[in-house]
C-alpha cells in the first residue's frame, strides 16, 4: 500500500474516533442537561411546598460532576490521539499508547459487551509513525470486537522477542468466534508501512514490530 493510501486510512481512523467521541460527549451533555433540568424542577417544587430535598440535590450534583469528569477524560484521550500526528517519527511509551487506543475503543467494546485487558512490560519507548501505529491497533481492535461474542474478553499482550516487540490480540471466550482471524487490506497496509509482520491464527492476531519501534 502506498503512503497516500495509508495516510487516507489514518484519516479515516481519525474520523471514526471523532465520531465516537462526539457521540459520547452528546450522551454526557444529555445527562448533565437532564440533571440540570431536574434541579430546576426541584427548585420550583421547593418554592411551592417548602423544604429542600437535600439528599436528592446532592445525588444530582454528584451525577453532574461525574459526567463532567467523564467528558474531560474523553476529550483528554482525543487530544492525546490528535497530538500523535504532530511529528513523524513521534515518541511515546508503548503501554501508554496501547492504553490510549483501548480507551478510544471503549464505547465499541461496551456496545459488544467485551472487556479488553492489557499486559505490557513497562518503559518500552516508541519512536515511530505514531498515528499509523495507533490507527493499526485501533482497526485491529474494532475488527476483533465484531468477532467477539457478548461477554468475551479481548486480551492484548506484549512480549519482547528482541530485536522485535510482539503484540498478541487474543479473544478469550467459551464459544470460539465464527471464522478465523484476519487483517484486512487497510490494516495490512499500515503494518507494511510500520515494517511489521502479521500472523493470523484461529483465535488471535499476532503483530511483530522491529526494534526501531521498541527501544529501551
Amino acid at each position: 500500500m502506498d503512503s497516500a493510501t495509508s495516510d487516507r486510512t489514518c484519516v479515516q481512523v481519525f474520523a471514526k474516533i471523532s465520531a465516537a467521541v462526539s457521540h459520547e460527549i452528546k450522551n454526557t451533555l444529555a445527562i448533565i442537561n437532564e440533571n440540570a433540568g431536574l434541579l430546576g424542577d426541584l427548585a420550583q417544587m421547593t418554592e411551592e411546598s417548602g423544604g429542600v430535598p437535600l439528599a436528592r440535590i446532592r445525588a444530582i450534583t454528584g451525577t453532574i460532576a461525574k459526567q463532567v469528569d467523564r467528558s474531560n477524560t474523553i476529550m483528554k484521550n482525543l487530544n492525546r490521539f490528535a497530538h500523535s500526528a504532530d511529528t513523524c517519527p513521534a515518541h511515546g511509551d508503548l503501554e501508554e499508547t496501547l492504553s490510549l487506543v483501548i480507551a478510544l475503543t471503549s464505547r465499541q467494546a461496551a456496545m459488544k459487551n467485551v472487556k479488553t485487558t492489557l499486559q505490557c512490560p513497562p518503559n518500552i519507548a516508541l519512536s515511530t509513525d505514531l498515528i499509523a501505529f495507533e490507527a493499526l491497533v485501533y482497526l485491529i481492535l474494532l475488527t476483533l470486537y465484531q468477532k467477539c461474542a457478548s461477554g468475551s474478553v479481548l486480551a492484548v499482550e506484549v512480549s519482547e522477542d528482541l530485536p522485535r516487540i510482539v503484540i498478541c490480540f487474543m479473544i478469550q471466550e467459551k464459544d470460539k468466534a465464527a471464522g478465523g482471524m484476519y487483517t484486512d487490506e487497510e490494516q495490512q497496509g499500515l503494518a507494511d508501512q510500520l515494517h511489521a509482520t502479521c500472523r493470523c491464527e484461529e483465535d488471535q492476531i499476532v503483530m511483530a514490530f522491529p526494534a526501531g519501534l521498541g527501544q529501551r
Partner: protein
C-alpha cells in the same frame, strides 16, 4: 385541542445510558406521565410485550439490539405503537431511516424536555394509539 390525561399516557424510555434515562423518567413523572424505562433493546422488547406502552422513546445506539433492530421487530408485532427516536448528530441518517420505518418523529440529544413532551402528546393524539385503545387492545 383536548387536554390529555397524562396519568393514563404510558411512556417507555429505552436508552442504555442509565443516568440519562432514569433522570428523564423522574422529570416526566413529575409532570404526571406514567413512565417506565429499559436499558437495552432486548429489555425494551420484553417490557413492550409484557405491558405495551402508548409511546416509546427509543435511543438508536444501544448494545445488543440497536434502535433500528427494535423498530423492525415492532413493525410486525406492535404496528400501532407510536415511536419517537432519540439521536445524536452522527446518527441523523439512522434517524431518517427510522422515519422510513414509520416512527412518529425524532429528537436530538441533549433533549429539550418541553419539545419531547409535545412530541409524546402529539404521538398519542396521532390516532393510531387511540385506535388501538378503542378497539379494546393496546398498541401491540
Amino acid at each position: 385541542m383536548t387536554a390529555i390525561d397524562r396519568t393514563t399516557l404510558k411512556v417507555l424510555i429505552a436508552d442504555d445510558e442509565v443516568e440519562f434515562a432514569s433522570t428523564l423518567v423522574a422529570r416526566l413523572k413529575l409532570r404526571k406521565f406514567s413512565v417506565t424505562m429499559a436499558t437495552s433493546g432486548r429489555e425494551a422488547l420484553a417490557v413492550i410485550h409484557r405491558e405495551p406502552p402508548d409511546v416509546l422513546v427509543l435511543d438508536l445506539k444501544m448494545p445488543d439490539l440497536d434502535g433500528l433492530e427494535v423498530l423492525a421487530s415492532l413493525k410486525e408485532s406492535c404496528p400501532d405503537l407510536a415511536v419517537i427516536i432519540l439521536t445524536g448528530h452522527g446518527s441523523l441518517d439512522a434517524g431518517r431511516q427510522g422515519m422510513e420505518l414509520g416512527v412518529y418523529d425524532y429528537v436530538m440529544k441533549p433533549v429539550d424536555l418541553n419539545l419531547l413532551i409535545d412530541k409524546i402528546e402529539g404521538a398519542f393524539r396521532s390516532g393510531t394509539v387511540q385506535k388501538g385503545k378503542q378497539n379494546g387492545k393496546g398498541a401491540c
